[in-house]
């Protein structure tokens, strides 16, 4: 019995080690390629976004796969991280001059802000079920995007100025720094992000999500997913654990947002990067990678980000191909008939192999 337990523990540890190992191995390969000049500039530019998408997918999987609630507003939380983190970095540019330290605090603050907003949104929203929850999270994501688009923020010697009208109404003196410019977005962040920090953040995300899943709280969250009424009957506080999963997921998305913001020169909150489109894109990663499968989320995020980039040569046809591939994969992976057909093929193959083996043995 003791042996069996040990075996199981190692099986679990093995799985998590494979996940961490996979990330670290890819990191090392990429670093070697970069230093030996074997990596194209296009690919180099994709490294940090890949980390961003992977973190987003893993953190959304906490809500969708582990908690079992459909969220279509995940990008909204990263939007909060983007703006809080970027504003912090711009303001602190001269105060904290060590870029790693400044970025560390920016990430912490971005995660905290997104986590708090996630918590506040979660209180009313998590009472809803299924598709209703989905539409409300989508609504919140759009609201966050809209609100961010009317914010004007600047800084001069008198401190911070804030308006929802335009830059002029801030009434700042000459030589002031314009931080947030409404629909023109935010610019002037120090480029503190790099691939190493991105991978580190991904590893931290994995650490938090995997360890949470295998703890008492994680089991409570999964129990709620599997059967809410039964979970309640054994004394599990439904609201507490739903909020816990939702706000941790939001905080991680916020941290990812900070990473994203410090990798580009201008961020605007548009539909394509922080609206429902992005939320849905991340959801696609989660579903294709396997609902509840953390490693799958990372792999799907990386492949589905790279494939359209690889197809750039096909120009306008690339997204068409992408959509066809997406539909095809969904049908193949999820349609009961396709699953049956696949099982049948595998059985046939095995049978064939066994036959060959017996024939060989007969020889």
């Amino acid at each position: 019995m003791e042996d069996a337990k040990k075996k199981k523990m190692t099986a679990y540890t093995k799985q998590t080690m494979i996940t961490y190992g996979m990330v670290i191995a890819v990191y090392i390969i990429c670093e070697i390629c970069m230093h030996t000049g074997k990596m194209s500039n296009q690919m180099k530019g994709l490294l940090v976004p890949l980390c961003y998408y992977a973190i987003m997918a893993v953190s959304l999987n906490l809500t969708v796969g582990i908690l079992g609630e459909l969220s279509l507003g995940h990008a909204g939380f990263s939007c909060i991280g983007v703006f809080v983190g970027a504003v912090f970095s711009i303001c602190m540019k001269d105060v904290i001059t060590v870029s790693y330290l400044r970025f560390f605090f920016a990430i912490l603050l971005g995660a905290l802000a997104a986590g708090v907003i996630g918590f506040l949104i979660g209180i009313p929203v998590l009472r809803l079920r299924g598709d209703y929850l989905a539409i409300v999270t989508l609504a919140f994501c759009e609201i966050i995007k809209n609100v961010v688009n009317i914010i004007y923020l600047g800084k001069d010697s008198n401190g911070l100025h804030f308006s929802t009208k335009d830059m002029m109404s801030l009434g700042m003196e000459e030589g002031a720094i314009e931080i947030v410019k409404g629909p023109q977005g935010i610019s002037g962040m120090p480029s503190d992000a790099n691939f190493t920090i991105g991978v580190l953040l991904l590893l931290i995300t994995l650490f938090v999500v995997l360890n949470l899943t295998h703890s008492r709280d994680g089991r409570a969250i999964m129990a709620i997913r599997d059967n809410l009424i039964a979970a309640e009957s054994v004394g599990i506080n439904i609201t507490k654990y739903k909020l816990m999963a939702f706000s941790i997921s939001a905080a991680l998305a916020g941290a990812a947002g900070v990473l994203y913001a410090h990798n580009i020169s201008i961020v605007k909150a548009a539909t394509n990067n922080f609206g429902y489109n992005m939320s849905i894109l991340i959801l696609v990663f989660v579903v294709l990678g396997g609902i509840g499968n953390i490693r799958g989320s990372i792999i799907a995020a990386v492949i589905l980000t790279l494939v359209p980039e690889m197809l750039r040569g096909l120009q306008q046809y690339r997204l068409l191909i992408y959509s066809v591939v997406l539909i095809g994969m969904m049908l193949l992976n999820w349609s009961p008939k396709a699953i049956e057909w696949k099982a049948g093929m595998i059985a046939k193959l095995k049978k064939g192999r066994n036959k060959k083996q017996t024939e060989k043995q007969a020889d």
Binding site: L70, I135, F140, N149, I150, V287, I291, A338
Partner: protein, 294 residues
Amino acid sequence: MSFITYVISGISLGSVYAIIALGYSMVYGIAKMLNFAHGDVIMVGGFVVYSLTSSMGMPPIVAVVCSMIFCTILGVAIERIAYRPLRNAASSLAVLITAIGISYFLQNIALIIYGSSPKIFSSVITIPPLKLADGALTISGETVVTIAACIVIMVGLTLFINKTKAGQAMLAVSEDRGAASLMGINVNGTIALTFAIGSALAAVAGVLLCSAYPSLSPYTGAMPGIKAFVAAVFGGIGSIPGALIGGILLGLIEALSKAYISFQLSDAIVFAALIVVLLVRPTGILGRQIQEKV
């Protein structure tokens, strides 16, 4: 007077939302899926009319009918090819993601054919504007037609569902698919019919939308699609009067907040209203409350 103008434009916009929301709501009620591609069928409907009228010079009314037929076939084909195989999939997310794939597909086909720059859509509605109160209040022909179309569609659909066998079959399938099939109802056929009606309505909505806001691009359908979905949930998804109420309310909120509160925040206000409604009534204004049996 300006207030009344805003209200009328709100009702007009709301009528378009209501027509789109109907499609969403019917499909949700019967197939139990969020058809994210519904908004893009609106865009397809708009482009068909655009092509037929501006490049082939067809009379608008013929073009609209052709567009409806085209979208009906498209809707049924999408259901048959992409959604039906996943109807009994282990996770309801599978069909949702497939619908998103269809949405990308339609957008990108339109992008390849028509390019990304918006096309100017010349209104297909030629009736003169209505002048009321000695010309102080003008209601455009588009508004009149839109509101009239919405009323006709609502009444027609209500009659169809309540008075015809096919309509009753729809109700039965939405209530309990398994039981309906045991009673000899052709479930596949009924769901296909629902998609056909929903898509034909989307084509109508597309024409009305483009006539009121005369610009057409591959992404035209996305936001109205989402808003109509919000309207459907707002009114109580699965309910025809709910779609009407939700659509009109949404149009009014949008038009009035654009006029009186903030142009940029109007979408945020619409979504905030949805959240408030759902917090008070978790299944929408006319939605049925469901309690799980222990």
